[in-house]
């Protein structure tokens, strides 16, 4: 009898708790959905405005254009002295080369730091970590002087070459974190199996680090794609402009009612990033969690 009573009470308590938790969950969802809307609204507004006629963009919160002006895109593409085809090709060249450079040079350095023994490793690693902190602005001027002397200004070399020299320590750090998780016994087994350190890098570490390489590739792709400061300094000729520089040109024409076109091209510039984000969301999230950065 008593047992039944206890069971009944426990059951009721559990029901009450479940109900409380269900309500809490519901509340949370409502809140998170509302917040998502606020977060995404600017992006949707941008997208909507890119299709709107000029007079509808401002003074209007609605997201549905009264008339879809595809012309914003077709005209925007050719609105600047050079067509966006040129800018996209330029951005693509810089991005692809930079990503390749980053992957090669950073994985080299990371492999050395994570797996090899050599004199001075601790010191170099500390120096590498310190470069994470250095603002680009601090090295900018001497680098500019240096590249100017080399005749590299107005070429892509100042944007690309540093990436082949492991200039972005973030990726080294990301890969070091990943390499360290691979069991060391694999290297040792490979050593006994007759592998040199070079072969171990190529035949063991790299194939096992594809997820980390993927993460690094995506991040570096997105950042280089969005990079503004370095192109701003090194690229003067509009023929060699990358997409972000081109977008800025729209701002100089402000007042001439080209907002629709400017938004249309802005949307297009974000498309690659969003696509990569959607496709590789998992890699990106995991990358941030393991490196604990950015």
């Amino acid at each position: 009898m008593q047992v039944d009573e206890a069971a009944r009470v426990a059951h009721e308590l559990r029901l009450a708790r479940d109900k409380r938790e269900r309500n809490a969950r519901l509340l949370k969802h409502v809140f998170l959905i509302a917040m998502s809307c606020v977060m995404l609204y600017p992006l949707f507004w941008l997208l909507a405005s890119s299709f709107k006629p000029e007079n509808e963009i401002f003074g209007n919160l609605g997201l549905w254009p009264s008339e879809w002006r595809i012309e914003n895109y077709t005209e925007g593409w050719y609105a600047l002295p050079k067509s966006f085809t040129v800018f996209y090709v330029n951005s693509a060249i810089v991005t692809v080369l930079s990503v390749i450079g980053n992957l090669i040079s950073c994985s080299f350095a990371a492999y050395a730091f994570a797996r090899l023994k050599f004199t001075g490793k601790t010191l170099f690693f500390a120096l590498m970590m310190m470069t994470l902190m250095i603002p680009y602005h601090v090295v900018l001027i001497p680098q500019y002087v240096q590249f100017l002397a080399l005749g590299w200004v107005d070429t892509y070399l100042p944007l690309v070459v540093p990436r082949f020299l492991a200039s972005d320590a973030f990726f080294i750090f990301l890969m070091v974190q990943f390499f360290r998780q691979l069991p060391r016994e694999l290297d040792e087994a490979a050593m006994i199996d007759g592998c040199s350190p070079y072969k171990i890098y190529w035949a063991i570490i790299l194939p096992l680090s594809l997820p980390a390489m993927g993460t690094a590739a995506i991040f570096s792709l997105i950042w280089v794609w969005e990079d503004f400061l370095a192109p701003l300094i090194y690229l003067n000729d509009i023929k060699s402009y990358t997409v972000p520089l081109a977008l800025r040109l729209f701002l100089d024409q402000e007042g001439q009612s080209v907002f629709g076109q400017m938004f249309a091209m802005s949307v297009l510039s974000l498309v690659p990033v969003v696509i990569f984000f959607v496709l590789f969301q998992k890699l990106i999230v995991r990358g941030i969690a393991t490196s604990g950065m950015k």
């Binding site: 938790e21 809490a24 969950r25 809140f31 917040m35 998502s36 977060m39 995404l40 600017p42 941008l46 401002f58 003074g59 919160l61 040079s105 350095a109 050395a112 730091f113 023994k117 050599f118 004199t119 170099f124 590498m128 902190m133 250095i134 603002p135 602005h137 601090v138 090295v139 900018l140 001027i141 001497p142 680098q143 240096q146 540093p162 082949f164 492991a166 200039s167 040199s196 070079y198 890098y201 950042w223 969005e226 400061l229 300094i233 972000p244 977008l247 800025r248 701002l251 400017m262 938004f263 802005s266 974000l270 990033v273 969301q281 990106i284 999230v285 941030i288 969690a289 604990g292 950065m293």
Partner: protein
């Protein structure tokens, strides 16, 4: 000697690109800019040694230098805590009791990924114009919004709000950190009848301290480096009335608009020192408030 070489060779070979990069792109330039900071240099004539003139001018007579420091510090002080609070709050909401967090996580992270782009800076500028979206929303609730980017009193807030909008990456790091807190600690506290707020201050915060610390250092450095969005929103000048004269913008303009490379180098070094000091303070004070789980060994 030969043995030393054989043992170390692979490490040095793999580090060669980094070595070159480190010396030519980091250490060399840092030292070069230290030298340049004691010179007057316009890129036409060769650098002329002026001793401490640049620094003397900077600290005693350059009102724009102080203004840019003020703007930058105000931005750091406002945006970093706001962003971290958002990140932690949302991370805690996402951490418990919800099974399908990945969609939310993606939505909240997306702005961080896009945020650095010029497109977003352009968008932001338009959102905060006098008849822009933000003021219209405010009008709906009967508030007459300010001019935002044209008003020196409010322009900085547009950038602070932009920073808050991009709370995604610290959020992800917090989420990973929260995952690392053993669930049984909360269960034990619940059985002991600990109230939720106390659970937060006594369990979550202390155990998350290393992650908070990490985020704080990182985000502070990031905030000091802010450039592109401020550059676009202020039309490259720091306008209006220098209210968006971020340190980096001031430096950039001194260097690449007025070609005062020596003075800009001095500015660069001061920035480096400021960031170094902040990082050092964070690290040296961290042991008083950050407790790592494996402190004992």
């Amino acid at each position: 000697m030969r043995r030393f070489f054989v043992r170390n060779a692979p490490g040095y070979v793999f580090l060669t690109p980094w070595f070159i990069g480190f010396f030519l792109l980091a250490l060399g330039p840092i030292l070069a800019s230290l030298y340049l900071s004691f010179t007057r240099y316009d890129m036409v004539a060769s650098p002329r040694w002026v001793g401490l003139d640049n620094f003397e001018y900077m600290f005693t007579r350059d009102r724009r230098f102080w203004k840019s420091l003020e703007v930058t510090f105000a931005y750091v002080a406002l945006s970093v805590p706001a962003r971290l609070a958002m990140a932690l709050g949302v991370a805690m909401l996402l951490d418990k009791g919800l099974r399908t967090i990945s969609l939310y996580r993606a939505i909240f992270y997306l702005p961080s990924l896009l945020g650095a782009s010029i497109a977003i800076a352009i968008l932001w500028r338009q959102l905060f114009t006098a008849d822009g979206v933000v003021n219209q929303v405010l009008a709906l609730v009967g508030i007459q919004g300010p001019g935002w980017i044209t008003d020196p009193d409010t322009s900085l807030y547009t950038l602070v709000i932009l920073a808050m909008w991009q709370f995604g990456s610290p959020m992800l790091i917090f989420l990973a950190g929260l995952r690392g807190i053993p669930k049984d600690l909360y269960e034990a506290a619940e059985i002991d009848g600990t109230r939720p707020w106390r659970r937060f201050t006594r369990i979550t915060l202390p155990l998350l301290a290393p992650v908070i610390f990490f985020n704080l250092v990182l985000q502070t450095i990031e905030a000091f480096k802010t450039f592109s969005s401020a550059f676009i929103i202020s039309n490259g000048t720091g306008a209006p009335a220098d209210s968006l004269l971020f340190y980096t913008i001031y430096l950039f303009n001194e260097a690449f608009k007025f070609f005062r490379m020596g003075y800009a180098s001095a500015l660069a070094w001061v920035l480096l020192v400021i960031i170094a000091v902040f990082t050092a303070i964070a690290f040296f004070t961290s042991r008083y408030w950050v407790h790592y789980e494996n402190d004992r060994d």
